[in-house]
């Protein structure tokens, strides 16, 4: 793609100069610390009793104090946290061009609009991958520091893979927000979309049709609502991929073909 590398350089510069990378990294760094705290609470009944409600919550979320439970907590946290945070990053990356009125500088250039949109998506993917890696690596450090019972390396890698897949699905599911930010010129519509998708995903899981609703799939995948509800077929995963592809293609089509009046 013509000039994609330079377009990516520009996107990276804009991201580096903002506070967003630090804020998002901080949030994702906190997730494994919370998980580690839950592990300590579960393992130490005396401490659990003194903390009251927190111990109950920790047991509901994490169950037992071992590596599989801890990594599963991280996968669940990445699913929910990733969906919200990746969604906000996507909203910022695309919506800022409209909020800052800089979109009009990007439309009549030798660099194709498609290259600029793809550069934004590449940035988003690398950003999400970095945040997920931060969570996983800090998680390994926290798990080691609180001395969770040793497990084979394969268990750790399996946990890491589950976190990566959960993060990947969350990322795919927020890509339509790029279209919402572009079509409705800013932040409000994609944030509304994010909240709606989050609410619907929980409601539809409760009704038992979660495997048919793409935004419910990651939660089912990480058994967030109980293993008995995790009935995922190939079409559930396909719907997640299709949602992401539709979001990307829709955004490119919007930038290339729609009237840009802002």
């Amino acid at each position: 793609m013509s000039n994609l590398a330079q377009a990516f350089w520009v996107e990276l510069l804009k991201a580096r100069r903002s506070r967003m990378p630090w804020v998002t990294a901080l949030v994702f760094a906190i997730l494994p610390l919370i998980g580690g705290f839950f592990m300590i609470v579960i393992r130490d009944p005396e401490l659990a009793r003194s903390l009251g409600m927190i111990s109950v919550k920790a047991q509901i979320v994490a169950g037992t104090a071992d590596w599989p439970a801890y990594l599963n907590f991280l996968a669940m946290a990445t699913t929910m946290g990733g969906f919200i945070l990746f969604g906000l990053i996507c909203t910022w990356v695309f919506g800022r061009e409209y909020a800052d009125h800089t979109i009009k500088d990007l439309l009549a250039l030798p660099t194709p609009r498609t290259a600029i949109v793809l550069a934004k998506f590449v940035l988003l993917m690398l950003w999400a991958a970095t945040l997920t890696a931060i969570t996983f690596l800090i998680g390994l450090g926290v798990g080691t520091a609180i001395a969770l019972p040793p497990v084979p390396a394969a268990t750790i890698w399996q946990g890491g893979l589950t976190i990566a897949v959960a993060a990947g699905m969350s990322l795919l599911l927020i890509l339509p927000l790029a279209l919402a930010a572009s079509a409705w010129h800013g932040y409000l519509a994609p944030v509304g979309f994010l909240i709606l998708a989050l609410a619907l995903s929980q409601i539809i899981i409760v009704t038992g049709y979660g495997e048919y609703f793409p935004w419910s799939v990651p939660a089912l995948y990480t058994s967030m609502v109980g293993p008995e509800l995790a009935h995922l077929e190939w079409f559930s995963f396909a719907s997640v991929i299709l949602t992401g592809v539709a979001g990307m293609l829709g955004t490119i089509a919007w930038w290339e073909l729609a009237d840009q009046v802002h």
Binding site: L13, K14, R17, K104, D105, A108, L109, P110, I116, Q260
Partner: protein, 308 residues
């Protein structure tokens, strides 16, 4: 190819509202074409259609010999533009904003950034974040982005907006230099009609989405109304002398007498002789030419004589 911009029956409708109606204009290379119109007349919509940001409902636009349509990028290598109020990435410095723009214009050498910073007198602000710039300096940054790649054609929407009088003169001189020494073509919209009169070779006047008139600056000179303005000690008596002599004189705002007769404008000395003989010598007599502002308002029917 001597034509920089050409439109053929260009039209844009938003639902029932027609923003631009069958607009056909032509801008020759090397000229400054001023596009005049009131707010909402269709200037910015036209500029957005020329830049491929808005798709015409009907008609077509050609820029530097290429028809503007989705995916067409060839002209943008040689076109610099400024659409409405210029904005920049607020957290990036002036230099970083220009560097970002340079990266998106392949082939523009790195030194172009420093060169344009000096040219637009932004040296003192080069490392300042764009979000902290004054309106005038933000306008300079917008112009710097438009000029960074030494374009053949500049499409500028209100290029002098936000600038102080010194800045306006500076931009005027810059545009004149670009046109005279580098053969750049300028298509600009402006509200500052005095500036337009000093700069433009040709003028297009748009009103309610329609091109009312397209004229050379020499034609404007010819079409602008002239009037003879007279003041005397006794305005009423002087008026009676003139009307009884057959002139269509009238008292304007109780301050001066105005005569629009071509004969009087061509030979004001005859008026003087007549008034002196009648014992009403004038204290002031002046042939005034309608300025572009009055000409424009008269054309769009907002001069008070022909309500819109």
């Amino acid at each position: 190819m001597n034509t920089a911009i050409q439109t053929h029956n260009l039209a844009k409708r938003y639902g029932k509202v027609t923003a631009v109606h069958n607009l056909s204009l032509r801008v020759e290379r090397g000229e400054i074409y001023a596009f005049l119109g009131l707010n909402g007349a269709g200037k910015t919509t036209t500029i957005r259609m020329l830049l491929g940001m808005v798709r015409p409902t009907a008609g077509a636009a050609e820029v530097l010999g290429r028809r503007i349509q989705p995916g067409e990028r060839q002209p943008w290598r040689s076109v610099g533009h400024l659409v409405e109020t210029p904005y920049a990435y607020p957290e990036l410095t002036v230099r970083e904003n220009l560097e970002a723009m340079r990266r998106l214009r392949p082939g523009v050498e790195q030194s172009a950034v420093s060169r344009i910073i000096e040219r637009l007198e932004l040296v003192d602000y080069a490392d300042r974040r764009a979000g902290t710039l004054s309106l005038g300096n933000a306008q300079r940054l917008g112009l710097a982005k438009a000029l960074l790649h030494a374009p053949e054609l500049l499409i500028l929407d209100e290029p002098a907006m936000g600038l102080d009088p010194a800045g306006i003169v500076e931009i005027r001189n810059l545009l004149l230099e670009l046109v005279q020494e580098h053969g750049v073509t300028v298509f600009m919209s402006s509200h500052i009609l005095g500036e337009v009169a000093r700069l433009a070779h040709r003028i297009g006047i748009i009103h309610h989405g329609r091109l009312l008139q397209e004229l050379d600056i020499s034609e404007l000179e010819r079409d602008r109304r002239r009037r003879l303005v007279i003041q005397a000690r006794d305005q009423q008596a002087t008026l009676e002398v003139l009307t009884s002599a057959g002139y269509s004189a009238e008292l304007v705002a109780n301050e001066s007498i105005e005569i629009k007769d071509e004969a009087a404008i061509q030979h004001p000395e005859e008026i003087v002789v007549r008034l002196v003989h009648a014992g009403q010598p004038p204290t002031m007599l002046n042939v005034e030419q309608e300025n572009l502002e009055r000409y424009f308002l008269r054309l769009v029917g907002m001069d008070g004589e022909n309500p819109p």
